[in-house]
Symmetry: C2
Subunit: 202 residues, 2 copies
């Protein structure tokens, strides 16, 4: 594309560096900003630079935070004996939105993926082991994706945590709520039979 | 969504103001920027504010430009007798990319749309009539969308330009190149028969 202006060309180039945004979408966004009041663009640019410059990561769980300690780690209502291990900050938000979990988190920052060149040393595993070694933790819940990489990471973490004697569990894999049996893939359906749950009969 | 950080919440709010970007995508983009080097965010923010603050519009055709006059209006290779009237800057880029047009442009800045409250006075119609009245122009090509609003605008422009005696044409509507006849809608197909083109038989 030949742009009539260097300024818009630069903006389109920078916007299209974002994941999932091509040149055409970038141009649409740039022209949208041009049509809006200047304040909109200023607010967007300022919020981005402020976020990038000032954001901090919780020293315990590596969740994003405005302070040294995130609001979850600081909260007195949280059960400090359970740590849920997740890949990414988005997973923390997803689990928090369920309102079903009252423990703490540990954000690994990724999963082991030899193809992408991510080994265990790239992940926040040592700090997790440190937290366990302090003795307060009784259970670790592994909430990683049900992919090859997620399973590899879960397996690796299990091995590393074995010595500590802490109880390790993983979130249930099975057919989703509302999902129909006939449309579930065989692997999931097979697993859901193997890991069937006993009905409590009182 | 409850964000663990005010900074990321602000960024997500601002990003999700962009058209076609919801809160989830905005969060994905924000987290992407956090993972990248600071330079990426700085370059993005700077290019956006610079674009918004410094961009100018060509005084003749209202195309975006870095100077008072855009590169198309300034060029000596362009045929100054033909003006192609388009809705938007993106249409200029689209036509330029075809390499089939050597005339000048006129960017209206929209089409007449009573539903969106856009009347003729919101569009750059007077400056177009001014350009025509200077006498250099022999043909106006209307290249507006084949929608109700586009057709209304074309009709309005035709009426306004009638007195000037300038030749007015519109881009051809018909089945797209590579399009199959049986999948073309009836209106397009009907129009393409009515506005059929004579084969030149030499």
């Amino acid at each position: 594309m030949n742009f009539p202006s260097k300024l818009i060309e630069d903006a389109v180039t920078e916007i299209s560096r974002l994941p999932g945004i091509g040149k055409k979408t970038a141009l649409r966004l740039a022209l949208h900003l041009l049509k809006q009041n200047e304040v909109v663009t200023e607010a967007l640019a300022l919020s981005l630079t402020r976020m990038r410059d000032e954001i901090r990561y919780c020293k315990h769980c590596h969740n994003i935070s405005d302070q040294e300690e995130c609001s979850i780690c600081k909260s007195h209502r949280r059960d400090r004996a359970i740590i849920c291990v997740v890949e990414d900050i988005r997973d923390v938000l997803a689990i928090e939105n369920t309102n079903q979990y009252q423990g703490l988190y540990h954000v690994l920052g990724g999963v082991i993926s030899p193809i992408q060149g991510i080994g265990p040393e790239e992940l926040k595993i040592e700090t997790l082991l440190d937290r366990i070694s302090q003795g307060e933790v009784s259970e670790i819940i592994l909430a990683l994706s049900a992919t090859m990489e997620g399973d590899t990471t879960s397996f690796y973490l299990c091995k590393r945590m074995k010595e500590s004697g802490v109880k390790v569990s993983t979130i249930a894999r099975g057919i989703p709520v509302g999902g129909e049996l006939e449309f579930t893939d065989e692997v999931t359906l097979g697993r859901s039979i193997l890991t069937r749950i006993n009905y409590a009969q009182d």
